[in-house]
């Protein structure tokens, strides 16, 4: 049976610009996904606990003020908690030279300002399907 992908949309660190994360969360809901949304200012252990307990397929981290540099720490913490298989995407303002570092740290994809919502949701749907298929082999 087809079940909706489950996505976490969050912001880590001190950046409070949450317009982007809200718009993406609302869009993913509107294309039929189940979205766990958090306000900004989350800490890594809280995000990891949430990702484990909610068993999300994809985590979207929004960052507009250099907080993307914390994401490699998040990746390590997710692996340590046994959920290294979740797909992590980052959206917001990420300089090109940092993008490579994020990808090297295991981030699946970085979306920059101006990315069309439809492109984001198509990518998230495909990533969620891959994660689900690996977690629940038939």
């Amino acid at each position: 049976m087809d079940t909706p992908p489950k996505i976490l949309i969050t912001k880590i660190g001190l950046d409070g610009h949450d317009r982007g994360s809200r718009i993406v969360a609302a869009h993913l809901r509107d294309v039929g996904m189940e979205v766990v949304y958090t306000p900004p200012w989350q800490e890594i252990p809280a995000v990891v606990k949430l990702a484990v307990e909610e068993d999300v397929d994809v985590i979207g981290v929004s960052s507009l003020a250099t907080d993307h540099l914390i994401v490699p720490k998040l990746m390590a913490a997710l692996r340590e908690a046994g959920v290294g298989d979740v797909a992590v995407i980052v959206g917001g303002i990420v300089p090109d030279e940092d993008e490579k570092a994020l990808i090297d740290a295991g981030v699946a994809r970085v979306f920059h300002p101006g990315a069309p919502l439809g492109e984001i949701s198509s990518y998230v749907a495909a990533a969620a399907a891959r994660v689900r298929a690996a977690r629940f082999p038939t």
């Binding site: 079940t3 949304y37 252990p45 809280a46 606990k49 977690r135 629940f136």
Partner: protein
């Protein structure tokens, strides 16, 4: 995470049960996903866990949207943790009836409790299930019970006056009554207030709270105790913390006097307590009905009404509605009516007449009623009519009633 994957080998299952019983967070979460999504491995997992369940106190929290359910749950959970308990929370949010999507925001309002290691929170989307719960919630509660949590708090979707499913699941039902919602006539109405073991006047720091508390207490004077428990009224304020310890005390008293794990004694699943919702769910999960645009209208024990608007895709080479389409409509009503008693019924014989040709744009309605039912065999008559009332088809069908139950509960006659 190969230990928590969906493979249904006996060894994999035993390992999974062990991890869940040991309270491993990731294993518990992954297993909940299996139950939530009805994966093939779900039934065996539920069966393997059920015998370990029955120890936890299940606390249902319901009330109108905006009553402060999540805020109260946060305060209550923290109080329970401070008393040394391990607490699981299942928070249900509505799915969009249009896209199926959902924003699960309850756990965010449970700020402090969410980050505590003694607390496990899981959000579920209602996925079209009416009544305030989500379809697989009972099995999920059994799983959390088997995982060793002392309290399991189930927060419903913001409820209307008749969303009472939670009462068949919970040991203790909390109904939140925020002040200022109505007069004393509201308080004596039937429905959600009747299922309360504890009536909680939330937002107790607001000026009208005292009045709301008085109205509810007056109402309770007129009511007899149920199963030895007399409903209590408490006033809480999550902002000031007033009344939260008293609420936890009242739950402890309820557990001591009434017990835990009562859902097992009650037998029926929440879905079966509401056959209308269960039948609607069957229709939504039926790919053929979806494909042929057959819609559920109404149903209950021994009856079901379905409708179909004849489209181009329903026509035969003559430009009239295909007999197979009419038969499908009648057969769908037959299928739902015969599966409305909680047991799985399978069709073994049908007969249909075609009495009137209908064309594109016509709305057809099929009404199935039960004409006889014994332990194993039941017979149904279905009338298919057009909008103007003229008869399109007469259909009769016979089913064999199996020993299996739709809620996955113990088959009839099992020890």
């Amino acid at each position: 995470m190969s230990t928590a994957s969906g493979r249904a080998t006996p060894r994999g299952l035993a390992e999974k049960v062990r991890s869940i019983r040991a309270g491993q967070r990731a294993a518990i979460a992954r297993a909940i996903t299996e139950l939530e999504n009805g994966l093939p491995s779900a039934a065996a997992l539920s069966a393997a866990l059920e015998s370990f369940a029955g120890r936890a106190q299940v606390v249902g929290v319901t009330g109108p949207p905006g009553a402060g359910k999540s805020t109260l749950v946060d305060a209550l959970v923290r109080e329970c943790v401070s008393r040394g308990r391990r607490v699981a929370v299942v928070a249900i949010d509505p799915s969009s009836p249009i896209t199926g999507g959902a924003v699960l925001g309850d756990r965010i309002r449970m700020g402090a409790a969410g980050s505590d290691d003694a607390v496990f929170i899981r959000s579920l989307a209602s996925r079209g299930h009416a009544g305030g719960l989500a379809r697989p919630v009972r099995r999920i509660v059994d799983l959390l019970d088997a995982a060793g949590f002392d309290e399991i708090v189930v927060e419903t979707v913001g409820a209307g006056q008749s969303d009472v499913d939670i009462a068949s699941l919970a040991d203790a039902s909390l109904v939140l009554c925020p002040p200022g919602l109505g007069d004393d006539v509201q308080a004596i109405k039937a429905g959600i207030l009747e299922i309360a073991d504890l009536l909680v006047v939330s937002k107790g720091d607001l000026p009208q709270a005292e009045r709301a508390e008085r109205d509810l207490k007056d109402m309770l004077h007129l009511r007899a105790p149920c199963e030895g428990w007399r409903t209590r009224v408490l006033r809480t304020s999550a902002t000031t913390g007033e009344g939260i310890a008293a609420l936890a005390d009242a739950l402890d008293t309820h557990r001591a006097e009434v017990g835990a794990g009562r859902r097992h004694a009650r037998g029926a699943s929440p879905a079966h307590a509401d056959p209308q919702a269960e039948l609607r769910g069957f229709g939504e999960r039926d790919p053929w009905q979806q494909h042929t645009a057959i819609r559920f209208v109404e149903g209950g024990p021994g009856r079901a009404t379905m409708s179909m608007r004849v489209g181009r895709e329903h026509l035969n080479f003559n430009g009239k509605c295909h007999g197979g389409a009419i038969f499908s409509l009648a057969d769908s009503a037959f299928g739902l009516a015969s599966n409305s008693h909680g047991v799985v019924a399978v069709g073994i014989d049908t007969h249909a007449t075609f009495e009137l040709a209908v064309g594109e744009g016509d709305l057809l309605v099929a009404r199935a009623i039960e004409t006889s039912r014994s332990a194993r065999i039941a017979v149904y008559r279905v009338d298919v009519t057009r909008e103007d009332g003229s008869r399109v088809s007469s259909f009769t069908g016979t089913v064999y009633r199996t020993r299996r139950r739709h809620d996955g509960g113990a088959p009839e006659g099992a020890a």
